[in-house]
Structures are given as C-alpha cells and as structure tokens.
Amino acid sequence: MKNRIRIERAILNITQADLADRLAVSRQTINAIEAGKYSPTLSLGMKIAREFEKTVNEIFELEEGD
C-alpha cells in the first residue's frame, strides 16, 4: 500500500517520533508504515489521516496485489 505520510510530515515539519507520540504508537511502527512494510488497521489509518486533516484516501492508496 502506497502512502503520503512522509510528504505530509514534511509539510507539517514533524518527525516520525512526533507523529508516533501523537498517535500513541512506536516510531518503528510509523517507519514501517511509511516504508510500506506494514499496513495499518483501519482505525490507525483513520487516525493518521485525521492528524494530517485529510481523508484516508488522500493518504493511502492501494497498489496492485494488495
């Protein structure tokens, strides 16, 4: 699953650790999601989108094979 978390973080000028703190998850989890190694659950995906004031579809995009 592709995502725009890295770009949105850059726009808000926050680190992975900052985002992880806001979402009460580990920095490694944010890193794994950004790198496409872990697909978050719907609830975490929605929390991430809410943090950037976007919809889930604006942050995450399905790839072929997902």
Binding site: A20, A24, V25, S26, Q28, T29, N31, A32, Y38, P40, T41, L44
Partner: protein, 166 residues
C-alpha cells in the same frame, strides 16, 4: 492500544530475571554434572498423583504426593519466565507489536511441530525423551527469538544500513 490477555509491563524484568536464573542453573548443571544448588525435594500433599490409569482404581481422585525437586523447579521457573517475557506488554504496545507477537507465536508452533515430526521419524529410544523435553520449551523459545529479532535486532540493522547509505 487496549490489549487483552497480556501482563503489565512492570512484570517483564521479573520474567527476564527468572530466565537468567534458569540459564545460570543450566550452565551450572553442564559444568558440575547437574549438581544443582537447588538439589532438594519438597513433598506437597495432592489430591491426585497421576501414575497412569489403573483399571482397578475406582476413584479418579486419589491421595498422593508431589516430589518437587531441582529439575521440576527449574522447568517451572523456565516456563514462568518465558511466559512473562513473551506475554507482558511492551512500553509502547501498538497494533504492529501485537501482530508481530501473534506471527512469532505461529512461527514457534510451526517450527516446534515440524521439528518434532522429523524427530518422531528419525529419533528412537532414550534420545527421544530429550527431544520431548526440548519440545516443552521450543515453541516459547522460537517465539521469543523471532519476536525480539523483529522488534529490536532487525530495526537496528536496518537503521545502520540506512546510515551507511546516507
């Protein structure tokens, strides 16, 4: 993240202490031929002492005694320690950690029973008793190795690789 069926994070160090004690006792046993400092027995009255089904026995519950000796104590400490380390919350317990925990547990079961199936085919006699003893702990040991590998070691290797590339 709300998690069910996990022990509090504060239990984790206690679990590690138990595991370390067991490892030290095992090393002691290897060095001194199982002359453990715990070499004593405790007799605890039990309602039932399983010695195999006796067709002449009318009652399932009988009077018996449990002989708790060094090897039994070590086995109980090992199981308790490994369970606490594996099933207590991490400081940040999120959904990815929960997923890694479950997948690692699945790996532990797969690896243990595949190995056991091979040993059933290939190992006979008294040596099979050793296989059964290892098989008591292997699911938890493999589970913990994979769990901590994915949570601690693999990210550290990845971070080092990224630093080298940068």
């Amino acid at each position: 993240m709300k998690t069910k069926n996990l022990l509090p994070n504060s239990w984790r160090p206690f679990g590690w202490v138990l595991v370390i004690i067991v490892i030290l006792l095992q090393v002691w046993g290897i060095l001194f031929g199982e002359q453990y400092p715990l070499n004593f027995g405790i007799e605890i009255p039990l309602p039932y002492n399983f010695g195999g089904f006796d067709s002449g026995q009318k009652f399932f519950i009988i009077r018996g005694k449990l002989h708790l000796q060094a090897l039994e104590i070590i086995s109980l400490l090992m199981i308790t320690g490994l369970m606490i380390v594996g099933f207590s919350r991490l400081k940040i317990e999120d959904e990815r950690v929960a997923q890694i925990r479950l997948e690692s547990l699945q790996w532990g079961i797969y690896a243990n029973y595949l190995t056991l199936a091979l040993c059933i085919l290939l190992v006979y006699g008294g040596a099979f008793l050793a296989v059964m003893i290892y098989s008591m702990f292997m699911p938890l040991v493999i589970f913990l190795l994979r769990f901590y590998w994915l949570l601690l070691v693999a990210p550290a290797i990845e971070a080092k690789r990224e630093r080298n590339l940068a």
